[in-house]
Subunit: 254 residues, 2 copies
DNA sequence: ACAAAAGTGTTCCTCTTACACCCATGA
DNA sequence: TCATGGGTGTAAGAGGAACACTTTTGT
């Protein structure tokens, strides 16, 4: 007999990223324990168990909605964390008790979500007792949640290079500077503003609006929107400088 | 009560990629059915159930070893396929019967593996009744295995851009032309040989050996090895031309 | 008037692209 | 000697990097 494991429970944990104009943040909640009081220091990613007849994307969506109040968030699966030891005995006992279930093993699937971090959002999450923390300032989370978060961040970085997901972290109308700050925060780099504008406008991915920033004590910046029709076709790659292999090695002939 | 699903079985399916010098291939096996004879046309990716006290990487490694005879293959997780309908009733019944288990649901985790496709390998897989098929020629696989394969290929492409995994598909010593053919096959592009060599040598990722190709009826090509010390630091990105977003948009200052 | 961030051009130089011929080997 | 793929250089143009001042607003 080959000892097939048949009674795993599957959970989903979401790294929900937001951008406040300066820093990349993620939403953390407090661990529930057998003792119904929150443990102040026991922060974790929002997560939960998958239900019968629910797909993983559905579960992730439900969990992200519970944490943010928003439906239809952008969600992307990252990795699975399956170490049989990732949930210790006490934790497992508590999980079974809390849900009224029995299982020998909990495997978790990581997701990240991207939200527009406005006042409504912070008000909602505050009311739920959740906190937005700078990603760079997070050094400890329960269980393997640090691993799940790091993994989510690295997947996010790569996705931003290959698709327009970055804009899901910005308001519909945004300034060039906001986009630049976002990219600088996500990748931990500095960008030359003049060259950035030149290339950005040349690329055609932004549409100019007639609107300007308001109530700022300096020259107000113009607001732009994403030009969605600039995608799906040809040339548009975020050139994450010298991070990776084969720098400029391929060139398509003709 | 929230109907937490606690009795999922978790399987692993591996897209095992190999490169024959011209085409990217993947290893397919024939489906086992209740009828112990193979069904000739029912091809699938090698896969199997995760066992108790086994992590997913361990399961993937075991499955890939079973298919190829090799330990310590390069393996990478791609995505999870969790649709409750992905395994139909008959299939589920057969799976439970075959393994002597009971479960209501089988969720599968995709992996890809990279192997050096030499004669020893083809001999081994042939003896097992498995077949190497050009990725481009695969149009049908059972269940959702086409999805798992497509997903694996797209993850592989991105990984090749960001890390030196391409070399895991080549022999330890290889020619420049082999590397070029590999990249052309994986990305479906054409590369200018003169410019490719120029950039490749300038990048420092190859180490020249004293050896040459042998037994070819043309000028023998020099063999090179991967210069592993060229990684982990600065500039080396495979520039998959104009595939993606923000083409050349970022530039690190200083 | 001051502070603070927006917005704008040019030069230098590197990197990309396009392209054609001779070379070494086995049959 | 022929067929086959290996191996090589250059010139023209595009695109990247570096860099400083003026403008507009709120206080």
């Amino acid at each position: 007999m080959d000892n097939v494991q048949t009674n795993s429970a599957i959970s989903v944990d979401c790294a929900i990223f937001g951008f406040d104009g300066t820093n990349l943040k993620t939403l953390l909640v407090r661990r529930r324990t057998v003792d119904p009081l929150y443990h102040e220091k026991e922060l974790k990613l929002p997560g939960g168990m998958i239900r019968e007849n629910e797909t993983l994307p559905e579960a992730a969506s439900r969990i992200a909605e519970g944490a943010t109040g928003l439906r239809d968030l952008y969600l992307k699966q990252t990795s699975i964390f399956s170490d049989p030891e990732r949930v210790d005995e006490d934790e497992l006992k508590w999980i079974c008790q809390y849900h009224g279930i029995h299982t020998d093993r909990v495997v978790t699937v990581g997701y990240y979500a991207l939200v527009k971090l406005d006042q409504g959002m912070t008000r909602y999450t505050k009311s739920k007792g959740a906190v937005w923390v700078n990603v760079d300032d997070i050094h400890y989370l329960i269980m393997d949640h640090m691993d799940i978060l790091s993994d989510a961040l690295s997947v996010l970085q790569k996705d931003i290079v290959w698709s327009p997901v970055a804009f899901k972290l910005l308001p519909k109308k945004f300034t060039v500077r906001q986009l630049q700050n976002l990219l600088e925060a996500v990748f931990g780099i500095e960008i030359d503003n003049r060259n950035f504008r030149k290339k950005l406008f040349a690329s055609g991915i932004l549409l100019e609006t007639e609107e300007m920033e308001d109530n700022v004590n300096h020259k107000p910046a113009r607001l732009y929107t994403l030009n969605k029709s600039a995608f799906g076709k040809k040339g548009n790659r975020m050139d994450i400088v010298n991070l990776s292999l084969f720098s400029g090695l391929l060139s398509v002939r003709k």
